[in-house]
Amino acid sequence: MFEATEINIRNRRIESLVRILFILMTGLLILPVIMILAILTYKGGSMVSMNFLFTKPTDGMTSGGIFPALIGTVWLVGVALLFSVPLGVSAAVYLSEYAKDNWLTRIINLAIINLAGVPSIVYALFGLGAFVLFFKFGTSILAASLTLGIMTLPVVIVSTKESLQAVPQSFREACWNMGATKWQTIWKVVLPNSLSGILTGIILEVSRTAGETAPIMFTGAAFFLPHLPESVFDQTMAMSLHLFVISTQVPGVPEDLPYGVAFVLIAMVLIMNSLSIAFRVYLRGKKKW
């Protein structure tokens, strides 16, 4: 009685064909990347040793390790976080808890989208014009980190806003009913309940910041510095710029060396990202409301 008609069969056949086509397209998007990662791991992984990680480059950067660049990236990311996390979280608190649905909020949201979309090299120009020259920080970690901080601000704002909004309204109402002020409610109830979500966003920001190259090129990162930075007014080497320099600017670099640097950089970034994702999945499973 319910036998498939010819049209049914034809439709089913087309459907499975379409399905295969889409699987293929998805696969073709992901496969090259997996292959590339495999090549990077294969060629770069063997370079990595304690010696590589903890010594400085020697012989005009054609041998030796990456220690100053590694430490430099930690400095840059650290200072950028000091600036952008408090600012970004406060901005998200405003947008989630205080802002009304009006034209100002719309403009703020538009500005955030635009901050995320401005080309990284324009940030470099901005950092140079504003922090290096106008505020006279010179080419320094401070100037570079402020530039990076502003650039990655949208990441913090958006993820924090999402986790603040995920806290149920009833939590806030319960708190207000006890006579708490708006700020007490935010500080004692909303923020603690969304802390883990905020952390996820911060980890994501760390990974973004660590990989950026263009914005630090003219604001604080140096091609080669044998010593480590001592304050935020020093210049520093950075992993991302180091990869650019040894793969394009320095002659006579052995083929394996940039692979090693690329591997360490991408491992840093992907570990951070995986951490953030794992954290998120874990939280989703644990959520009680």
Binding site: S90, A91, Y98, F244, L265
Partner: protein
Amino acid sequence: MAWFVDKFVQVVVFIAGISAIIFIIGIFVFITKEGIGFVLKSNYTLNEPLFNLLEDKGMPDDLLDALSPMDGKPFHTSKELIKAVETTIGAEQARPYEQLILKNSHHQPFVLKTFFTSPKWTPTSEIKPVYGTLALMAGTASVTGFAMLVAIPFSLGAAIYIGEFATGRKREFLKILIELLAAIPSVVWGFIGLSILNPLIIKIFHVPIGLNILNAGLILGLMSAPIMTTIAEDALKAVPDRYREAAEAMGASRWQVIFKVVMPAGKNGLVAAVLLGVGRGFGETMAVLMATGHSINMPTSIFDSVRAMTATIAAELGETAVGSDHYQALFTLGIFLFLITFLINLTADLVLRGVRKE
């Protein structure tokens, strides 16, 4: 007391809230401040060719030597320049040469028409620097265009598969994979283009140089695919299930549902996804700098090396003196980039807002 704290916090978070607006305005103001001088500039300077003319006219060597520190120093009006010349070598001695100086000292580095229509970008030329961005624009456009040819079908396909076919764990896994893809830093992409794709292209297509539109386009396509996939998938997810159910109840097959119902319904979101992908490709710097070959060319085939606007700034800014014509020209290029990406993002936002209103 609690009330005061409450008010104080409200003010603080409000300031943080509007900081995004302040920064956007700040970016525009500071790059304009550094670059606008170039657009408005009309200089009166002594330069190399003029010195040669003066020498031909018979100016004694000691006077030439006395004037040489003024080489390249810009003055806003011809009067200021003549006055400076007179104070340096004395009014009496300067008089015979003033006409010549007046006639040949005027320079206008920025010419609107040249900036947009000349393919010549020779900012370091000693005799006459030309600031034409046509070839750079063609470079950016060709690479971004090729990247979109690659990225649009594949990321829409992936979005449809993830959103409409894949379920449960497989779907989660694919989404995470796409997210990780988006995390790879652009300098690493550039390195991949330089050291993996470059020899591959040379080998497969038998071309002398593998750093070209093809290389950078593929890299850029893979780079902008994740953001396009994510947003397109969101757009498909926003189409209510009852649309699908209604179509299926009418006897439509799965692919008919997707092409005739879901995609038209999610059209705006898909357009926004493409726009944001274009914006991403357009503004990309390091990968394009490393994979295009970075040579100024009006491209005729995908095997031509080109140079992008973003890459030009990255490569040249380090060598310029603050405030020089070249330095300001690069900032002018930056203003141009900023305005275009601003427009792209604004359009994408308006298109997406249309989705939410529905």
